[in-house]
């Protein structure tokens, strides 16, 4: 890859974010609308870096109560037992289904944490205008964007356990206060990934004026 590689922005062209039509705007500072689909034209996703930081920080804050607060409480005639995400994983492991325990551990604990770390890494790479390993970084972004939804797993587990186990007064399961926080982590990290513009990683190649556009 030579430094002379020509990007659309370098050539004065905008690729429409919706229909991907290449458009040559009459005025660079006011690109206007895409003539094909009518969407607003922008050189890069608007305020990409700031928005992504905001979602990442909000998600990181929610990550703590999501893991400390119980996500469900099992009530029987004699006892009431709260379960956090981790204790749910241990429960699955102890009852002999370690593959499911592993899946829940990966989807609920490791993917959200990994996404946050990876997004911070990408944001810092953009800030430092570092271009090393950009191919791998773009690939990392693609993975983050793809697997984020799987973290919603635990929310569905809680929902269907709660929906089925309502055999009052013998046994019932109620949702815990951790669920909304956990859901917030998943949604906020998905929004963070959608706000990030991977093209910013490559812009430093050309020292363009659009780096933070």
């Amino acid at each position: 890859m030579s430094e002379a590689a020509l990007t659309a922005a370098h050539a004065g062209l905008i690729s429409c974010q919706i229909c991907r039509l290449l458009v040559r705007p009459a005025r660079a500072d006011q690109p206007g609308h895409c003539p094909r689909c009518g969407a607003n034209l922008t050189w890069r996703r608007p305020n990409s870096v700031q928005r992504t930081w905001a979602f990442v920080i909000a998600a990181a804050i929610c990550y703590i109560p999501a893991n400390l607060l119980p996500v469900m409480t099992t009530n029987t005639l004699v006892s009431s037992e709260p379960d956090t995400i981790i204790s749910g994983v241990i429960y699955l492991y102890n009852t002999g289904s370690w593959p499911l325990a592993l899946i829940v551990l990966i989807a609920s604990v490791m993917i959200p944490l990994g996404k946050l770390v990876a997004l911070v890494y990408l944001l810092i790479a953009v800030r430092r205008r570092s271009v090393a390993n950009n191919r791998e970084r773009t690939h990392l972004y693609r993975i983050i964007d793809l697997i984020g939804r799987w973290s919603m797993l635990d929310v569905f587990v809680d929902t269907f356990v709660v929906a089925l186990v309502q055999l009052q007064p013998l046994m019932s399961v109620e949702p815990g206060p951790g669920v909304p926080f956990f859901m917030a982590v998943v949604i906020l990290t998905m929004l963070a990934a959608q706000s990030f513009d991977p093209r910013l990683l490559w812009d430093s190649h050309h020292q363009q004026r659009f780096a933070h556009g």
Binding site: C34, C37, F156, L164, R199
Partner: protein, 220 residues
Amino acid sequence: MTQVAGVETVACPACDLLQEVPPLAPGAKVRCVRCSETLAEALPDPLDRTLALTLAALVALIVANTMPLMGLEAVGRTASTTIIGGAQEMWLQGRELTAVVVAFCAVVSPSVYLLCMLFLLLAVRRAPAPHWTGQLLRWAESMQPWSMNEVMLLGILVALTRIATLARVIPGIGMYAVGALIVLLAAISVSFDRTEIWRRVEWVDERARRRGTSGTGVTQ
């Protein structure tokens, strides 16, 4: 830019590199030379096949949402639930927000996605397609990341495993329909070609189409 017939200039959506995509043989796929993002793909029969899959998926969606997912039997009592029943129970337990998000990801998103796909695939059968077809495609694509049926099915399996130690669980017809729905949704995303839709859609500004060289628009 000089244009060779059939060659289309595109900017990579992931790294913005300008590249020329030649006409593709069916089944061929073009990746960005710099970041390996998929730039173009020539799919066989992208519209009719996707339409057939969409119709099948709508049937599966209706069955999945009306039939019970699973039943439970413990100490002589039985209970069963549907997808929306799960969200409803969350609401009754005072977790309204969770209920809304579950209903959105499990029912609303896939329904809106499939309905938008159905109407847009019907609309593009005659070119030029009206420009609201593009709007339908935007809606469908904004729903796609939030439509989480496959995550839900895995969640149900984990839930069943957890309950299995407490009670006997019987999978219902809804569960098999969810399985079929997931396969069909995956098949739709593989067979669908969004570029083909945009090629057929009428431009908002038809004069710009004539002004620009092939595949390139100019704003005033």
